[in-house]
Symmetry: C2
Subunit: 120 residues, 2 copies
DNA sequence: ATACAACTTAAAGTATACTTTAAGTCAAGC
DNA sequence: GCTTGACTTAAAGTATACTTTAAGTTGTAT
């Protein structure tokens, strides 16, 4: 699969895919005449990386994690990184839920004001 | 209340409070001899602003919203901004929950590998 | 054989949201 | 009256994560 196809499939810029590769977040992609040709395994890595980025994992942590995915002796370390990330996500979910409550409260409040104005 | 006290109360840098004020996100704070002296109303605005920042509201939207909080004729517009933000938060919650599931799945998977290694 | 579109690289540039710096003011303690 | 510490400003600097640019290569259609 070409970089353009991957870009369109996942809604990610080609330049971002190259950037991740340069940073060592995505392993070297096989090339035909100097042109990237993504394998099924590459695509699975990309899916995971994009998911973790959405989860708020920063580039450094992602780099640390992805540098170990081939190494069976690092299972415990990899698990620890994902647990760190899970804890971060859980905390973020709590924060967002609290914000959502506040937003809903304020929106309702404004609705009441608008309803009262209508009655006049 | 001095800027230092506010900074400590909310865990936000004094420079950030000055920055928000300069951007028009926080209204001009009354000054005594050129030194900021935060009122109770100022503090309530700060609490709200910090909550919205945590909710992922960007500076531009926050500026747009905060510029209208004194204007009764803008209730509908203010409500619309908060509804936009609520929709964003709900979407983000969905994304984060999906990521959390993936993380939990992977963590469990690693745990199984570690358990199997132990048995040998 | 030549033009074109899509790829390549390295390096510089950008967006967002602060944060730091430099230079100055002011009230309080010695 | 002078030092000290906390404040002030405007402007420059920083962190993170890309994104754009410039210059060059390659396969394909004319």
């Amino acid at each position: 699969m070409t970089i353009k196809e991957v870009s369109e499939k996942y809604g990610v810029e080609a330049s971002t895919l190259r950037y991740y590769e340069k940073e060592g977040i995505l392993s070297l992609v096989p090339k035909v005449n100097g042109v990237r040709n993504y394998t099924e395994a590459n695509l699975q890595n990309i899916e995971f990386v994009l998911c973790m980025r959405k989860a708020g994992m920063n580039i450094e942590r992602l780099k640390r994690y992805m540098s170990m995915i081939q190494d069976d002796s690092k299972t415990l370390e990899r698990k620890k990184i994902l647990e760190e990330q899970r804890d971060d996500v859980v905390r973020e979910l709590e924060v967002l839920n609290a914000c959502l409550e506040k937003l809903n409260y304020k929106i309702e409040h404004y609705q009441k004001i608008l309803d009262a104005e209508k009655k006049l």
